[in-house]
């Protein structure tokens, strides 16, 4: 733990090899038909909101998860990428393969409703707290080099007061 910023730069740019263990060897397979079909959810972080009871959900749902509602196909698209949230819970994980260990992630509760599990970015693992405010940032998740695909997605960025 504790790479300096120059070493992180080298690791992120793949100029320095990183030991991430056998666990990190799994090859990424990018399904382009899934991206084509579900790109608003994957790249836009667009979930759904129930028109009947107002429950927002991530990811996209057809049936309302509110046990007192359960409406079917009463959803409208609902964008989470511009919502602020706070950290419901979190961990910093040394087992997860990462070029920037520990991998910090958690569940975010969004202002206006909805909850999502997200990787954290641009934060010091030692300063993360339950209840800390976050905003979302569009970042690289992984590179599928075999198919020349960079997989982007949304991460949670703690807002340091």
């Amino acid at each position: 733990m504790g790479l300096g910023s120059y070493e992180k730069y080298l690791a992120f740019r793949k100029l320095m090899p990183c030991e991430i263990g056998i666990r990190g060897e799994e090859t990424i397979f990018t399904s382009f038909s899934i991206i084509s079909r579900e790109n608003r959810e994957i790249y836009g972080m667009v979930g759904t909101k129930c028109k009947k009871c107002g429950t927002p959900s991530w990811p996209v749902q057809r049936i309302c998860p509110n046990p007192d509602c359960g409406a079917v196909d009463q959803m409208e698209p609902y964008k989470f990428s511009d919502k602020l949230g706070d950290i419901f819970t979190y961990t910093s994980d040394f087992l997860a393969p990462s070029i920037d260990p520990p991998a910090s992630y958690g569940f975010i509760d969004f202002k206006g409703g909805g909850r999502a599990g997200l990787d954290f970015t641009d934060c010091d693992p030692n300063t993360i707290k339950v209840g800390m405010p976050v905003e979302l940032a569009f970042r690289i998740k992984a590179a599928d080099e075999k198919r020349a695909a960079i997989n982007y997605g949304w991460k949670a960025m703690p807002i340091v007061a």
Partner: protein
């Protein structure tokens, strides 16, 4: 009106391999080892088995999919075999299939066998083994098993105002207790006692969980033969009767509706309620003599005590501090050493837990024998606290 399965089915034979880094044994060796002990314990012959349920969670790294491997390995004579998989409840799901097969009246005698061979991956932790679908890497995050449960520990500490030191101390006592029990069990993988201080000072795997907060990963297999309760006296004087088997699966409410508190496992609570109702148990804290619960991580065991109503909400620390769940406490938990010391060959774990309850109720648990237990409970939880499958089985004399 459904009447449930209480006292309709009895367990008349069980087998369990030594769990561990079984580099000496192939998957088939493990299956045969569990089956041979189970069949001998039952006193039956192979031809008496009319149907089988076979549990394996990650067959893609061991024996492949389908039911054929059980039939061809054990040379079962063209009987119906069903392969089941339900995350970490896979072994209990196999038992449920066999018990329901008998309770339905379709069969008199059935076999349940679970096996998992994990250590051939060559690395620690559960295998990745794909299997989450092509979409998962596109909209998910870098979640591991310890990380998923560490998030529940973080939330539990936060909700009940435990500082990290006190929270980790509570969890360390859970692991130290199980290691003490596992040290007495020749079939356990990890057989060393550890102190609370060792647990507290171990390297962090996923904050706040350290190495000794995590169960081992092992190879192993376990099996059970069940029969109609009304024919049991012909087979043995000390059968164990199934009082209930229930499974509860997340509705998605926990994450999608966001009312879940993050500090308990809702399907554990629900499966417990269903199982107690079927078994006729009114006060689980008083009536359940002993339990093997899903201690994949120390925090899982701690919150399970609350979910199964052994401890009041937010109060498990008091019971842990008082030694309630120790071998000499009022309600011993993980008397065989638990997942903590057996490790977690996923398809086998539920049946391994039942093996201990069965031996304890028969008075055959050797150095671990409790004084006259009446009711035993097993609990498996598969997936993550936020979205999971939970089984609860209750057995008694």
């Amino acid at each position: 009106m459904a009447e449930g399965i209480k006292d309709k089915v009895a367990i008349i034979g069980m087998g369990c391999t030594k769990f561990g880094e079984r580099f000496d044994a192939s998957p088939q060796d493990l299956m045969v080892e569990a089956f041979v002990e189970c069949l001998a314990d039952s006193g039956l012959e192979k031809k008496d088995i009319q149907a089988a349920w076979w549990g394996v969670h990650m067959p893609d790294i061991s024996v492949g999919r389908g039911a054929t491997i059980l039939g061809t390995t054990l040379k079962l004579p063209f009987i119906p075999i069903t392969r089941v998989e339900n995350f970490c409840a896979t072994g209990s799901e196999a038992l449920r299939g066999a018990v329901y097969g008998v309770a339905s009246g379709a069969y008199d005698i059935c076999l349940a066998l679970g096996m998992e061979k994990l250590k051939d991956t060559g690395y620690g932790g559960l295998p990745l083994a794909g299997g989450m679908g092509y979409k998962m890497p596109l909209n998910s995050f870098n979640l591991t098993a310890p990380g998923g449960f560490a998030m529940m520990a973080t939330k539990y500490f936060s909700k009940y105002n435990l500082n990290p030191q006190d929270g980790k101390m509570m969890l360390a006592k859970v692991s130290a207790k199980s290691h003490r029990n596992g040290a007495l069990n020749p079939k356990a993988h990890l057989r060393k006692e550890v102190t609370v201080e060792q647990v507290m000072n171990a390297p962090v795997i996923a904050w706040p969980l350290g190495l000794f907060d995590c169960c081992g990963v092992s190879d192993g297999s376990a099996a059970a033969i069940v029969c109609r309760a009304d024919m049991v006296k012909k087979f043995r004087p000390d059968p164990v009767f199934v009082k209930s088997i229930q499974i509860s699966v997340s509705s998605g409410e926990e994450m999608l509706y966001a009312k879940w508190d993050g500090a308990h496992v809702e399907p554990s609570y629900r499966a417990g309620i269903m199982a107690y109702k079927e078994a006729g148990i009114k006060n689980p804290r008083e009536e359940v003599s002993m339990a093997e619960v899903h201690d994949c991580f120390s925090i899982t065991e701690a919150v399970t005590m609350e979910d199964l109503q052994f401890s009041a909400r937010g109060k498990v620390k008091d019971d842990i501090d008082a030694g309630r769940f120790n071998y000499d406490g009022a309600q011993p938990i993980q008397i065989d050493g638990g997942l903590k010391c057996f490790g977690h060959p996923i398809g086998a774990s539920g049946l391994r837990m039942m093996y201990e309850m069965y031996k304890q109720l028969q008075g055959k648990a050797d150095k671990r024998q409790l004084k006259d237990p009446k009711v035993g409970l097993t609990h498996n939880m598969g997936g993550f606290p936020s979205m999971c499958v939970v089984s609860v089985c209750i057995v008694g004399k």
